[in-house]
Structure formats: C-alpha cells, structure tokens
C-alpha cells in the first residue's frame, strides 16, 4: 500500500522530532498540576525570618488530598528552594497546623475552612485551597479550573495578616487579587 509506506516515513520523522532534546512536562493530572502551583506559590512567597531562618526546611502540609500530597512530594524531591529543603507531610484537621509554612487544603466544607483559618490566625502559614470561596473565608490563595486551565486568586489582606510577602509576579499572574492597592475585598 502506497499510503502505508508514507506512514512509516512519517513515523520515523516524528520519532526524530520527538527525540529532540525536549522537556516541558505538560500532560498531567489535575493533582500534579495543583502541586506545581503550590510549589510555585512557595517560590514566590517570603516568610518572616523568625518563622523561616535562612537554610531552614520549609514544612509543606497537605490536608484532605493524598494525590496532591504525593505529587508535591515527588516534585520537591531533591529540588531545594533558595537552598531550603521542602518537607511534605499529610496532615489531619486536628494536626499542628500552625507549624506548617504552607498548608494546602482540599475536600473540606466552609465550616472547616473557617476553623482552619482561625487556627492559623497570626501564624505565617501560606494557606492554599481549591474551595470556591477559599479566599473569601480568609485563605490566602485559591486554585481553580476555568475553561480547562488552572487559575488562582489571592487575598492580600490575609497574606499581610500572616506576615507573608507575595511577589509582584504572583500578583500579576493572579486572576483576581483581593485587598490589593485599589482592589476590593472578596
């Protein structure tokens, strides 16, 4: 078959193209993608020095989503941020939430989110969640999917209250920044 010979040629061409030094990983599960965002939020956040001395390990806690926890643990393995290692731990709602530098929350209702926000009040904990009204309930960053892609909102009031400095790059890429200069509260 004439056409089939061309298929073989095309396959060979494709094979060569695909073997080119490649590397943006893209085809991912939603959990892996969320973990990618969580890692990036950590990258663009400054913790107060008393909470995170130079060289100290960042404690990343994951509540209610094993898959995100696993993906995050895989992603941070051997990949320190500014010389800091990241330790990922799955945590329960009654766990030591205030000792987390970063807390990813999923699969809980608004009452639990209020309770979590109240528990970490004043502590420098970067709270991230996927609940619809997460930033409205006092969380700092909310990840969500819109028209097929992951987006995020930020709440600067909550960030300031937690003494966290979010980089301008993060603010520029957010879909909505609540409580920023001229910005309104959710």
């Amino acid at each position: 078959m004439r056409g089939c010979r061309y298929v073989a040629v095309a396959a060979a061409v494709a094979g060569i193209l695909l073997c080119a030094p490649a590397a943006w990983p893209q085809d991912v599960t939603e959990s892996a993608l969320k973990a990618g965002f969580v890692y990036n939020f950590a990258k663009f956040t400054d913790w107060p020095a008393d909470a995170l001395p130079p060289g100290a390990t960042i404690t990343a806690c994951v509540l209610g989503d094993t898959a995100v926890g696993e993906a995050l643990a895989r992603g941070v393995k051997g990949r320190p941020l500014d010389g800091r290692a990241i330790a990922v731990s799955q945590i329960e709602i009654k766990g030591p939430l205030r000792s987390c530098h970063l807390l990813y929350v999923s699969g809980v209702d608004s009452a639990h989110i209020r309770a979590i926000v109240a528990t970490v009040e004043g502590a420098p904990v970067l709270t991230i969640g996927d609940f619809d009204d997460f930033v409205g309930l006092g969380g700092i960053a909310r990840v969500f999917v819109d028209t097929g892609r992951m987006r995020f909102d930020l709440n600067l009031v909550s960030a300031r209250r937690s003494r966290l400095q979010l980089s301008s790059k993060l603010l520029a890429l957010a879909s909505h920044v609540f409580g920023g200069p001229g910005g309104k509260l959710p």
């Binding site: 089939c4 061309y6 494709a14 939603e30 094993t66 993906a71 028209t147 892609r149």
Partner: protein, 668 residues
C-alpha cells in the same frame, strides 16, 4: 484485511514506542516550570461525563479532549475533522453528510443517530432524524470551539436517547477566550473561499460577549467519475460541477454573572454529485442538493447555594432540511421533488449537584422536552403539488440521578440511573463504575453501562414506511469496559482500554412491498463487538506535542458471524505539532491509517493512510498566516456507499491546499 499490507502502519506504532525512552531521559519536572507555563497547561477536566466538572481520571468513562489550541494548530475546520483524529473513531463522507464511525460501527445509510452531540451540555441532535451533524452541516465554526470532549461508552443514564456509543460535548468560546476582534480570509483548492469576523471581550462589569460570523463557498471537485454510471446516456459516469457547498454560520454568546446565553444559526447548502436516492445522474438543470439549517438559543442559569450547585436551563432548537431530487418523469423530462423536514423543540431542565456525607457527590436532575414540530413533507416542484405531509408533535420527560462515593483514598464507586418517559414507551437505563487509583498518577476503571436509542420521527413515518413502524421499540446496548490510565513524569499520558458490547433491536431497513417506498424498519439488528484501544499523549519542551493511538476492533452480526460493513479492524493515528522557524509558529503533522473495510456489495476496500500538514506563523503583531495541505500524498481512496446509492463506493478528495490570513484588528 491483509496483514502483509498493513505492516508499515504498525511500524508507526513500533517506531514511536521505541522513541519514547529517548524522550524520557531529558525531562524537567512540573514544579520547575515557570508559572506562565503552568497557566497554559490543560487541567484535564471533563464536564460531559457526569454533568459537572471532574478530573478525567475520576470520570466514569474513557475521555479524550481536543482544545482550541489543537484546533488552531491542526487547522481543523469541522467537528468531522476533529473526530477523525480521535482514537477509535473514523469519519466517512458520502459527499452529502459526514458519517461518524465509532467502536467499529458505522452502518452506511445511518445518520449518526447513535452519538449524542451536545453544545455546552445541551443536546443538538435534531428531533426528526436524531442526527448528530458533524460536518459543515453542524452550523458552527470550529474556531469557536474552546474544547471538545469525547466521552466514550453508553451514557443514557445521564442523557437518555442517542448516548449509545459516545457523547461529544462541544464547549464554545467565551469573549474572554477570544479577547479581541479578528478578521480571516482564506482561499483553498476546489475553488474554496472563506471569510470570518469574530470578536469577544470580557468587560470590567463582568459582561462577557463573543460574536462570530463565517461565510464559505466551495465548488468542490469539478469532475467526479462514478463507474456505476459509466454509459453515454449518463455523461460516461462523470458528474460535472455538482459538488459545491455554501455555508453561513453565526455564533453569539453572552454571559453575565449567573446567566449564559448561547445562540447560533447555521445554513448549509450542499450539491450532491452521487445521484443518490435513485435520482437523475449529472442533472445539470436541476441538481440534487441538500439544505440544512440549525438554530440554537440556549439560556442557562447556574449558581451555588453553599456547596450545592444548581443549573437551570431553557432552550429552543430548530432544525430544517430541504432535499431537492431530480427524478425522471414519464416523458423523460427531469422533474424535481422536494423532501423537507422541520423539527423544533423547547426543552427545560434542572440539574443539582451537592456533596453528601460520606464523601459522596450526588447529581440529580429532570428534563422536559416539548417537540412542537417533527414534520416531514414531500412536494413535486415541477407541478407544485404536495405529495405528502406528516406533522407530528410529542412530549418527553426524564429524571436522573448519579452518585459518586469516594471509598477511602484509592477507590471511587459511581452509579447512575435515568428514567425516560416517551408517549409510547419508557426506559430505565443504569451505569456503574468502579475506579481504583493505586497512586496519584494512575487509575484503573471498570465501566458498565446500558443505553438506548429511541425510534426517530423519520423511522416512525407511517406514510412512507407503513403502519407497522408504530410498533418500533428503542434499540439497546450493554457495554463493559476496562480502562487503565497512566501519567508518567508529568508529561506523558498512556491509556489502554478494552471493551465489549452487545447491541440489540437495532432499527434496520428491510424490504416491504406493502409500504409506499418499498421498505420499512424493524427491530432486528444485532451487533456483538469487542475492541482494544491504546493511546499515548505527550507534551514536550518548546511546545512540541503529540498523540498517537491505535484501535483494534471486531464488530459482527451474531447470526452470521460476519464483520459489519464499513467496520475497519485497525485504526492507527498520529499527530505531532512542533514549533516552526519563527516565534509562536507551529508546523503540525497528522497521519491516519485505516484497515480494510467491507462495502455493502461485498467488495473490500484496501487499507490506506492519509497525511495532512498544517502551519501557523504570526507575521508581526497583527497578522497571522496559516495554511495546510490535506492528503499530502494524494492517496486515492473511497468510503463505502449507502443503500441509497447506486454506486458501491464514494471517492474522497485527493490532495488539497489552503492558505489564509488572520488580521487581529483589536486586542485588549
């Protein structure tokens, strides 16, 4: 099927499998991607599998997506182009309609009534033929598609009628997605020209507006040769200048807060060169033609009450078609007959999704459809007299429920049930799934489902097919499927699935001398099929992406053990898109290979493969050049014809070229 001939196509699969370890060595982990890149990655969520957004890994079906970026890169013009590239699907063309094959089933003469086509979750199969129109006749420009979800397997437990083999959900673009105004002109082979103006914006007050209008005309293939008509009396088998097509498409979407209005109108006129339905061949004075019109007006209200999401929907759909057929009159003169259908309906629906204790998510809803018109008529245009008229109206309603329960961290159980009430029958259809996720990057699914397809108004036309058709019952299908999906290194997705189905009571045309047209419909068709599908998708550095799939299927009639007509055993596909020489430019390749198929007359069509190439390249800030070559190697191939054709096969287009320019007049 000739295995010896097909081997080069298998080489495709082998070559790519061998290439994979080479790619795997040089990957950057997801966490090291810049945030800008992460924002561009598809999150892999599907709506149509459960009437709510969920990760594809948790959906009770095997799902594929095509995104707006894919549509742009591969130069897809219609839904038919898109589905042709999807694992396990194939599309035939009888130079009138595009006919979709899935899971080895594409009976010549059927009109895609066993696929449910949705626009933003709303049914658009018409209510006369039950047809999912996927070619240009669909009436919506593919550049207005944000995503197309392909949800395999039966889904009548959620959607009722037609969700038999698969559901195709087209999600259309918002103003925010278009974000600007652009004008496109395009010229192509076969004397084809297209213009399009589209624009959209999300305003600061939250109002989101998208608008688009497209006009296209094509002369088609100037001289088409059909051996079945090769005699001096019928122009030696040559249909001259009878393959033209004209289409206009308008699309609008308005969103404000909790409301979304989607509207569309499409008008498509296709000249038919095949002299189908026993018409006069090469009738230059009164050419055979089909006109299809689709109107959609859909208003959706969606909001959350705490964790409960409520969606209310009201829609009006109208479909009309006119077929003009030149027939030989008693004195040898050509007479023109008109066959028309008008179908329209109001539908209202409510869907409620809420979490329940015990890690459950419950989706339930109700639907009510008032089919105002399901009318068919015939007219002799030469004498301007009515031949027949059959006006039908009907009501139908349904309720459904689906529950998802997370059993621990690694297991999801999913079950759904729907009750459909028609005027003459009712149906209860279940679906169940068990999904195990041994780790965060893989899932095993076991899927069980039943579905039905109701006899449509055309098949129930007692005037044409006799009183007996009133006794037609819905067709049914039962499917078992296992799916394994593996996500490796955050850049490679591999999926393997195996299925088995039994379809019974398929509505089949049979001879009946007592009916007006000499045929009628009976519930006698049966199909037993099994299949194995493999797909791997990779998205790599610098915007390189590729998908490769292979589907092996065997669909047979149990009574005789013979493979169905137009049912290829093998389908192999590959598409690869790589960055071009200039910034933001892409060159994309697509190869589709199909095994041999049997025709109605018992002939065997050879296996074959076609290759397409597309390019896109920005020229400065405001202009973009695009173009492509279809069927690059000018393969001469054909699709099986239907019982309404005198010929056994319908030849397809050879190599065609197109080139176009998009001018971005304004961008936010």
């Amino acid at each position: 099927m000739s295995p010896a001939r097909f081997r080069p196509c298998r080489a495709l699969v082998a070559a790519l499998l061998l290439a994979m370890p080479g790619i795997a060595t040089a990957q950057t982990p997801l966490s090291e991607l810049p945030l800008e890149e992460l924002l561009r990655i598809d999150a892999g969520r599907v709506f149509g599998a459960s009437k709510r957004f969920e990760p594809a890994t948790e959906a009770p079906a095997s799902v594929s997506f095509i995104t707006a970026a894919d549509i742009a890169r591969y130069g897809y013009r219609t839904l038919a182009d898109i589905l042709r590239g999807v694992r396990g699907m194939y599309v035939g063309d009888d130079r009138n309609f595009s006919l979709l094959g899935t899971r080895g089933f594409s009976k010549p003469g059927d009109y895609n009534s066993r696929i449910l086509l949705l626009v933003n979750g709303h049914r658009v199969n018409d209510n006369v033929y039950g047809q999912a129109e996927i070619g240009a006749e669909f009436g919506m420009d593919a550049t207005m598609f944000e995503r197309v979800e392909i949800i395999r397997g039966p889904a009548s437990s959620l959607y009722g009628d037609s969700a038999f083999f698969a559901v195709v959900n087209v999600i259309t673009r918002s103003g925010e997605s278009l974000n600007g105004v652009s004008m496109t002109v395009e010229a192509a082979s076969l004397d084809t020209a297209l213009t399009r103006i589209s624009g959209g914006r999300k305003f600061d007050n939250g109002l989101d507006v998208a608008l688009s209008g497209t006009y296209e005309r094509s002369s088609g293939v100037d001289r088409l040769f059909f051996p079945a008509f090769d005699s001096p009396a019928t122009n030696n088998g040559i249909a001259q200048g009878l393959d033209g097509e004209r289409l206009s498409e308008i699309y609008a979407q308005l969103r404000f807060r909790t409301l979304t209005f989607t509207g569309g109108y499409g008008h498509r006129q296709k000249f038919v060169p095949t002299a189908s339905f026993g018409t006069v061949f090469n009738a230059q004075q009164a050419p055979e033609q089909t006109i299809d019109r689709h109107l959609l007006a859909d208003l959706e209200y969606g909001r959350s009450f705490g964790p409960t999401q409520v969606a209310l929907r009201g829609s009006f759909d109208q479909f009309s078609t006119d077929g003009i057929y030149p027939t030989a009159g008693p004195d040898g003169a050509v007479e023109r007959l008109l066959n028309s259908a008008l179908g329209n309906r109001w539908s209202i629906g409510i869907a409620v999704t809420r979490p329940l204790p015990g890690r459950q998510v419950l989706t339930s809803g109700a639907e009510f459809i008032d089919n105002l018109h399901q009318d068919q008529s015939g007219r002799d245009l030469t004498t301007d007299t009515a031949l027949y008229g059959k006006n039908v109206e009907s009501l139908q309603g349904a309720i459904y429920v689906q529950d998802q329960i997370k059993l621990g961290r690694r297991l999801i159980a999913n079950a759904g049930l729907r009750y459909d009430r028609y005027e003459n029958f009712d149906r209860v259809t279940p679906r169940a799934a068990l999904i195990a996720m041994p780790s965060s990057n893989q899932s095993f699914k076991y899927l069980y489902g039943r579905a039905f397809r109701a006899p449509n108004a055309f098949e129930l036309n007692t005037f044409l097919f006799g009183e007996e058709v009133q006794n037609l019952q819905p067709e049914s299908i039962e499917t078992h499927e296992v799916v394994w999906e593996l996500y490796t290194h955050d850049w490679l997705r591999t999926s393997v699935s195996a299925y088995r189905y039994r379809a019974d009571g398929l509505i089949t045309s049979t001879l009946d001398p007592t009916s007006l047209v000499g045929t009628t419909f009976v519930n006698t068709g049966q199909v037993r099929a099994k299949g194995l599908e493999f797909e791997t998708q990779m998205r790599l550095n610098r915007g390189i992406q590729g998908v490769m799939s292979y589907a092996l299927q065997r669909a047979e009639e149990p009574a005789t053990g013979t493979t169905l007509v137009n049912s290829p055993a093998h389908l192999a596909k590959l598409r690869v898109s790589v960055p071009g020489p200039s910034i933001q430019s892409f060159v994309s390749f697509e190869v589709q290979a199909m095994g041999s198929r049997r025709t109605l007359a018992g002939a065997t069509l050879k296996p074959g493969a076609t290759a397409d190439v597309s390019i896109r390249a920005p020229l400065g800030k405001a202009l973009e050049l695009f173009g492509g070559v279809r069927n690059v190697f000018n393969l001469q191939f054909a699709d099986p014809a239907s019982p309404s054709h005198a010929q056994d096969v319908i030849p397809q287009n050879g190599r065609t070229l197109r080139v176009g320019l998009t001018w971005r007049l304004w961008a936010k």
